[in-house]
Symmetry: C2
Subunit: 436 residues, 2 copies
């Protein structure tokens, strides 16, 4: 009878492995990223999941025949590792032999081995699985991994519990027109616009929770800053004094994420020539102060994209911050569950965080008292039964709490100075793209 023991795990080769093998043999699988033929020899550039290694082929030293490979072929190589200062990472591999594992049916339609893919975003969407083979394109998603990794590590350290809440929700729970609807065994259901109700529910038993999960908005925007399916980084925390506790938590988290990226993703940050922000503290202005800065009337009820750009420029010039919090928005533009401000019930204890000209977060303090929520819903012409089981969490008691949601792709886009949010999504969903 066979067993899985005694079997070594197949390993992914790392730069460290190769450096440790200098002067000795290395064996690993890779994609032929590029072949540069010279007179009498060739450079065979090998792409692994994390690296681009330079190898040298010569008919004198290599048993296999270079005519058997092409760009895009997958091979298993046997080589000798040596130092070579002119190569990336300072190492080079002399090919002694290779086996062809598979060959492509067609040539890449894009310049995969160029430093930059250099095609319009639409072409890169059309040939998504090819475009992402470009080391710079894929590096974006190592950074996205790092943002999630840093976020998660920080949250766990601060006593938050990671939760998974359902994305098929009862219809109309949070309202609004931008909802993807579906039929759920004869009932009308919708895709979660946020984990709002569920993460609040979790505060009732975990005090503080976070979630990294897809979020759905059926907006018909076709802009450089909207996706119809994106990853939300959400957290919700109980026992806050006011929403500045949430803002302080976000500031500390973002600082942590930047340090986490600097520590673990240097290779990708270099490929992407990323300039990470320095975060010490983040300035906070009220919505009305923001309008004053913009020279606009207090009658305006929300910020538009141009306002966001100008406020960030202002914060950079005056406070040397690439982030700025805007708080206390007019309540009528905020959801019904936002707590009213004590100083003016027309304002909500709600905030946005802007970063490099773009809103990346909406958050705030939520109403936790059952009767206060019922009376606010009356003002909004809503009935408790409109929100399903949501009222029940307040009926049985909730601590004061607040939280926020961050759009992962927006944060990554701005961290890396990408021009289009689609560049920060592996397989973007927009009004025109559903496949791949």
């Amino acid at each position: 009878m066979k067993k899985t023991n005694g079997k070594d795990l197949v390993k992914e080769i790392t730069l460290d492995d190769i450096k440790k093998s200098i002067g000795g043999k290395v064996v690993f699988g890779a994609c032929v990223h590029k072949v540069r033929s010279m007179s009498g020899f060739a450079f065979v550039i090998l792409r692994t999941g994390g690296y681009i290694f330079q190898s040298v082929y010569s008919p004198e030293t290599c048993k296999a025949n270079i005519d058997d490979i092409c760009e895009g072929a997958y091979i298993r190589i046997v080589g000798e590792a040596k130092e070579e200062k002119r190569a990336v990472y300072g190492v080079e591999i002399t090919l002694l032999d290779f086996t062809v594992l598979s060959k492509p049916e067609a040539q890449y339609p894009l310049h995969v081995s160029d430093r930059k893919i250099g095609c319009p975003i639409e072409t890169s969407m059309q040939y998504r699985s090819v475009a992402l083979r470009n080391p710079r394109e894929r590096a974006v998603f190592k950074i996205a991994e790092g943002v999630c990794g840093g976020f998660r590590e920080f949250m766990i350290k601060e006593g938050f519990t990671e939760v998974h809440t359902p994305k098929i929700n009862a219809a109309g729970a949070e309202g609004g027109a931008n909802i993807f609807k579906l039929e759920y065994f004869g009932q009308e259901a919708c895709l979660a616009q946020s984990p709002q109700f569920y993460k609040q529910t979790c505060v009732a038993f975990f005090d503080r929770v976070f979630e990294i999960a897809p979020v759905y908005r059926a907006e018909k925007h076709n802009s450089t800053r909207h996706l119809n399916e994106y990853i939300g980084l959400d957290f919700e925390m109980g026992f806050i004094n006011d929403m500045t506790d949430v803002m302080a938590m976000e500031t500390a988290m973002l600082k942590y994420v930047v340090e986490y990226l600097e520590e673990n993703y240097q290779k990708e940050l270099k490929i992407l020539e990323a300039k990470l922000p320095k975060i010490t503290s983040i300035p906070i202005v009220t919505f009305f102060e923001a309008l004053d800065i913009l020279g606009k009337s207090h009658k305006q009820a929300d910020l538009d994209p141009q306002d966001e750009i100008k406020l960030c420029e202002y914060a950079k010039e005056n406070w040397d911050s690439e982030f700025i919090f805007v708080e206390k928005f007019p309540g009528r533009k905020r959801p019904f569950y936002a707590m009213d401000s004590k100083e003016d019930e027309k304002l909500a204890e709600s905030f946005d965080l802007l970063f490099r000209g773009l809103e990346i977060t909406t958050g705030g303090q939520r109403i936790h008292d059952y009767n206060e929520l019922v009376s606010k819903m009356e003002r909004y012409n809503m009935k408790p039964e409109d929100v399903g089981a949501y009222m029940e969490i307040f009926r049985y008691g909730m601590p004061p709490h607040g939280g926020l949601g961050i759009g992962l792709e927006r944060l990554v886009m701005k961290l890396l100075d990408l021009q289009n949010i689609r560049q920060a999504s592996l397989f973007p969903r927009d009004i025109n793209h559903l496949d791949p």
Copy 2:
């Protein structure tokens, strides 16, 4: 101008914090879990996000009045921490004062403070936000967090990249009847039945990837082992020799997860009286060998739930393993992308992992050669255009690869010996439950 600096983060109290404060003051927010009135004093059991602390109220030592609180109220307490061997964790808090933060509108309809909630699953589903306030009920989801945490840590250590792939997919991509359909800007779309096509695509540029994300199955089952939305733990790896490399990776991962739980979740394991499996290696039988063990005809094309239970009993008795791999299933019961077995093309390089009587994983080696895939699809009466952009990844080259998917809730259910999979889902989605 306000800034977020200089503001301390609101902390969640831990047992360590209290132990360090023995003889001194502690201040923290908590829920009144239970009040046990004695003659002249009362035990006030405090529930925080992670703990149940015992505190003692006496009118002589506490400024606040105990008549102001009830079970389910949220309070901020000031107390003195002291050792008390008879209390859980060996610590007790003498209440010096408290402030009421919020009071519930109604009494809990369930026995939240009992050791076990003791109500039928249907009642616990109806009052979900109440049931989960029971420490044993919520502990399940700390274990789920730990399973994901261990899985993720292992995968990253092994050089896998964490990805996020879209859950709104082009209709019919993977086929089958159990699909939730929705309209996507005038096109027919469906919810992902698995990240299969996308994780394979990612192998083209990251070699090995994993994802933790929701999976949708519109199955009309109303059983103790099916959910219509669940969390899939998926991985996919390139450069495998055959599917035993995938099985070896899963074995090592499960071993890691068990150790991770033992190291980080002792408190919850104790509450749940969990008996974690010992994993050294996992036996592998072929599908036909499995039928022989069961005394069944080789004409049977798949295993049924009773077969799974019996095979696990057999593995436990004969090989002292609570896990058993079954490999080389008849191809006609496996998806078109499964690689045919070399020894018999009617068999697929596909496996299941059974654990304590339940299938928790399906995996295998996939076809990586474009022409082999085209010819297999012909046998399945499929056309390349049926699968959208999927064929493109093979056209431009793929290494040999394989992977698997694990149902998180099934794994947690079996790890904790739960009787119904709904107990392992925060907000279960089944044919009758869409809210909360």
